[in-house]
C-alpha cells in the first residue's frame, strides 16, 4: 500500500474520482494544499462546470490558467518554505481552441476549423467535450514541468469515465474508416479492400443524410478534413495522455461518502476503473459522522433499554441545575432522541461503507475517513481541517 502522504510527495498527477456531491472538489483541494505544505508546487484543476473550487479556495474566480493562492494566506495554513498552491477551472472552449492552434499545420487549416459550424458547437456547447479538453490541459501542465503535482477533480461519475476514455476515443474516432472515408473518399475508393466496406458505408451515409438533411455531412466532412490535418498531433497526444494517466507517476483516489447512492456509484466506478487498468491507489470516505469521543457509539441508548428511567434521571439532573421552572421532561426526551439518533447515524455511516473499506483492504489500498465537520467546507481553514483529517493522524475507515 502506498499511503496518501507518500503519493502527495512522489506522484505527478492525482485524480479524484467518485459520485457527485461527495466532496471530491474539497478532497482534491485538500490534497493539493497538503502537497504545498510539504514543499511542492501544486495545482488543483476542476473540470466541474460548477464553481466549488473557487469558493473553497477563497478566490473570487478561477480561470483557464493556474492562479496562485496568495502566499500570506498559505503561510497562515502552515505552508512554509518552497510550497506553492495554484488552482484553475477548465475553460473547455479556450482549451480546445488552443489545441487546434497548436496542432494545425498552417494558419489556413486552423481558421477553417475554428470557423466550421460543427467545430464551433462541438467545442463550445456539447456535453462530453469537457473531458477531451481536460485531458489536454492535464497533459500540457505536466509537460511544461511547471508543477510538481497536478491534482484533478473529475466530473460526477457517469461523465468521469468519458474523462478516462476521451483520449482513446479520439484516436479510435480519427482512425475509424468512416472518418477516413469522409476525409479521403478518392483514396478509399481506389483501394480494392475498401470496396465492400465502402458500399455499405455509402449506404449508411445516405441514411444519415436522409435524417440529418443535406449539408450536414458536407460540413462534417469539411470539419474532419481540416481536423485530419492535425490528426497526427492528436493521435500522438492521445497515446501520450493515456500512457501518462495509467503510468507510474499517476494515481487515482476514489472519493465517496456514507450515502447509499455515493456508495453504489463508488462500487460501479471501482469495477470500471479496475477493468481499464487504471492505478486506483485508495479510498477517501468523506463526511463520515463520528462519535464524540472518537470511539464506538453505544449499542443501545439508554444502555439498559429503560428509557423512562433514563428520562427521569436526566430530567432530575436538569431541574437540579436549571431550576424548577425548566421544562426538564421535554428537554430530557429531546436529549435522548438526539443521542440515540446520532449513535445510529454513526453506526449507519460505518455500516454503509464497510463493503468499500473491505474491498480497499483486500486490494491493499488505503481507506481514510474524513469526519463530518460542523459546518460546510467553504474556505481555506475548512480545507486545512480536511487535509488534517487526511494526513495528520489519519483515521482508518
Amino acid at each position: 500500500m502506498t499511503a496518501l502522504g507518500q503519493l502527495v510527495e512522489t506522484r505527478r498527477i492525482l485524480a479524484c474520482v467518485g459520485a457527485g456531491g461527495v466532496g471530491k472538489t474539497t478532497v482534491a483541494a485538500a490534497v493539493a494544499l497538503e502537497a504545498a505544505r510539504r514543499g511542492r508546487r501544486a495545482v488543483v484543476i476542476t473540470i466541474d462546470p460548477a464553481r466549488r473550487l473557487a469558493d473553497a479556495l477563497g478566490v473570487d474566480h478561477l480561470e483557464n490558467e493556474p492562479r496562485a493562492i496568495p502566499a500570506d494566506r498559505l503561510t497562515e495554513l502552515g505552508v512554509a518554505g518552497d510550497g506553492e498552491l495554484f488552482a484553475m477551472m477548465l475553460d473547455m472552449k479556450r482549451t480546445f481552441d488552443e489545441m487546434v492552434d497548436r496542432f494545425a499545420p498552417d494558419p489556413e487549416s486552423r481558421d477553417r476549423i475554428l470557423e466550421n459550424p460543427i467545430y464551433h458547437h462541438v467545442s463550445d456547447a456539447l456535453a462530453g467535450s469537457a473531458e477531451y479538453s481536460a485531458m489536454e490541459k492535464v497533459y500540457e501542465l505536466c509537460e511544461t514541468e511547471t508543477f510538481d503535482l497536478i491534482v484533478v477533480d473529475t466530473p460526477p461519475s457517469q461523465h468521469a469515465l468519458d474523462f478516462l476514455d476521451a483520449p482513446q476515443r479520439l484516436v479510435e474516432f480519427l482512425d475509424s474508416r468512416i472518418v477516413q472515408l469522409l476525409v479521403h473518399p478518392a483514396f478509399a475508393a481506389g483501394r480494392f479492400g475498401f470496396k465492400l466496406f465502402q458500399r455499405g458505408a455509402h449506404r449508411v451515409m445516405q441514411m444519415i443524410e436522409r435524417v440529418s438533411g443535406a449539408g450536414f455531412l458536407e460540413d462534417l466532412s469539411d470539419f474532419l478534413m481540416a481536423f485530419d490535418a492535425m490528426s497526427e498531433g492528436f493521435r500522438d497526444r492521445a497515446r501520450q495522455v493515456r500512457a501518462l494517466l495509467t503510468g507510474p507517476t499517476s494515481g487515482f483516489v476514489l472519493v465517496s461518502g456514507p450515502g447509499q447512492r455515493a456508495i453504489d456509484d463508488a462500487r460501479l466506478f471501482l469495477d470500471r476503473l479496475e477493468g481499464t487498468g487504471v492505478p486506483v491507489e485508495g479510498l477517501v470516505l468523506n463526511r463520515m459522522r463520528t462519535w464524540p469521543d472518537g470511539g464506538d457509539p453505544p449499542e443501545r441508548v439508554p444502555a439498559d433499554g429503560d428509557r423512562e428511567a433514563a428520562v427521569a434521571v436526566l430530567a432530575a439532573a436538569l431541574r437540579e441545575v436549571e431550576g424548577q421552572d425548566f421544562p426538564a421532561e421535554d428537554a430530557a426526551e429531546a436529549a435522548l432522541d438526539a443521542v440515540a439518533g446520532y449513535a445510529s447515524a454513526v453506526r449507519r455511516d460505518r455500516e454503509a461503507c464497510r463493503g468499500l473499506v473491505e474491498r480497499a483492504e483486500r486490494a491493499n489500498r488505503f481507506a481514510l475517513r474524513v469526519p463530518e465537520l460542523p459546518s460546510d467546507v467553504h474556505d481555506l481553514e475548512g480545507l486545512a481541517r480536511v487535509a488534517g483529517a487526511l494526513f495528520e493522524s489519519p483515521a482508518r475507515a
Binding site: I118, L181, S212, L268, V301, L314
Partner: protein, 324 residues
C-alpha cells in the same frame, strides 16, 4: 418574490435537476407517487447508467418499461441513448431492420461513439416522443412526465443541446425534430425545470447560480425550488440551547445508563448545528433565487422504499407552494 402561474402538477413535463447528491431521484419518484395519488398517469424517466426508481417502488428493474406500471399509475423508463437512437431511426426509415442495420455498421458505431451531443439530443427526443404519445381515445398516454435529469453542470448543457443542434444543422428532419424538442423545452406552460437543492452552503450557492444561468441562457421556465433533506427543529421551543444546558450537568449524571453529559451535549450540538445551517441556507436560497421553496424533511435513514416516498409525497402535498 413572484408566485408561480401554474401548479407544479399542471405541467406536462417536469425536468428535475440539481447538484449531485441532493436527492433528485428520490424527489422525482416522490413527485410521481404524489401525481399518481391524484389520479394522474405518470411516466418517470431516468437517464442514469443504472435505474433506481423501480427499486424505490419495490419493483425490479426488469419490470420497468413503457408497457408496465411499477406502481398503480406510475410507469418508469430508463432512456438509453443507443436504444432511443434505434427507435428513432426505425421511425425515420420505416422499420427497425434498417435501423438495426445502420446501427450495426461498425463505422457508424465508431462515429457515434466519438460524437458528442447526440446522446443528449436523442434522450430529449425520446422524452418528446413520450410526451406526444396518445391513447386510443386521443388523450395523452401520460398526463405527466417527470425527468430525472443529470447533475447541475451537465444538466444545463443537456437542455441546451436542441438549440445547438438547430443552429448547427441547416435543413432536414433532424433540424425539424430538434426544433420540436426545443419548442417543448421552451414552452412555459408545458415544461418546467425544477431544481432540487440542499440547505447547505455550496448546494445553496449552486442553486442560485443554476437559476441565474437558466434565466440568462436557457429558455426553460423555472418557478420554484425544492429544498430537500431539511432537518426539523431538534429541541423544545423553550430550550433552543439544550446542548449548552446538557454540558453543564455534573459529569456523573446518568452513569451506567447514558453516555456522559459531554457526549450528550456533543450529539445535541450536532443536531442544532445542522438545523442552524439548514435555516441559514434556506434563507440564502430564497434570497438568491427569489423563488418560492418547497421544503422536504430529512429522512435520517435515507429514502429506501415506497413508504419513504410516501413521506416525501406527504410533505409535497402539505406544502402550499405545490399549487399555483
Amino acid at each position: 418574490m413572484s408566485a408561480p402561474e401554474h401548479g407544479l402538477l399542471e405541467r406536462r413535463l417536469i425536468i428535475i435537476t440539481g447538484k449531485g447528491g441532493t436527492g433528485k431521484t428520490s424527489v422525482s419518484a416522490a413527485l410521481a407517487l404524489l401525481a399518481a395519488r391524484r389520479g394522474l398517469r405518470v411516466c418517470v424517466a431516468e437517464m442514469a447508467l443504472e435505474s433506481r426508481i423501480p427499486a424505490l417502488f419495490g419493483s425490479s428493474e426488469a419490470a420497468a418499461g413503457e408497457d408496465h406500471e411499477i406502481h398503480p399509475g406510475v410507469t418508469a423508463v430508463r432512456i438509453e441513448p443507443y436504444a432511443a437512437l434505434a427507435e428513432y431511426l426505425g421511425l425515420q426509415f420505416g422499420g427497425r431492420r434498417v435501423a438495426e442495420w445502420v446501427l450495426g455498421n461498425q463505422a457508424f458505431r465508431q462515429l457515434m461513439d466519438a460524437a458528442p451531443g447526440w446522446r443528449e439530443l436523442i434522450t430529449l427526443g425520446k422524452v418528446w416522443h413520450l410526451e406526444q404519445m396518445e391513447r386510443a381515445d386521443g388523450t395523452p398516454r401520460w398526463d405527466l412526465l417527470i425527468v430525472d435529469a443529470p447533475a447541475t453542470g451537465h444538466g444545463l448543457t443537456f437542455l441546451d443541446v436542441p438549440r445547438v443542434a438547430v443552429a448547427a444543422v441547416r435543413v432536414g428532419p433532424l433540424r425539424r425534430h430538434a426544433s420540436w424538442v426545443e419548442e417543448m423545452i421552451e414552452d412555459k406552460r408545458r415544461t418546467i425545470l425544477l431544481p432540487v437543492a440542499l440547505a447547505e452552503e455550496l448546494p445553496a450557492r449552486e442553486t442560485t447560480e443554476l437559476v441565474e444561468r437558466v434565466r440568462r441562457d436557457v429558455g426553460v421556465a423555472v418557478d420554484r425550488v425544492v429544498v430537500n433533506a431539511v432537518s426539523p427543529a431538534p429541541f423544545p421551543e423553550q430550550v433552543p440551547d439544550l446542548d449548552v444546558r446538557l454540558a453543564r450537568l455534573p459529569a456523573d449524571t446518568g452513569q451506567g445508563r447514558l453516555p456522559p453529559p459531554a457526549t450528550l451535549a456533543a450529539c445535541a450540538r450536532h443536531l442544532r448545528e445542522r438545523r442552524e445551517l439548514n435555516v441559514r441556507h434556506l434563507e440564502t436560497i430564497a434570497e438568491g433565487t427569489s423563488l418560492p421553496m418547497i421544503t422536504l424533511p430529512l429522512l435520517p435513514e435515507g429514502v429506501l422504499d415506497v413508504d419513504d416516498l410516501a413521506r416525501l409525497a406527504d410533505a409535497f402535498e402539505a406544502d402550499p407552494r405545490l399549487a399555483a
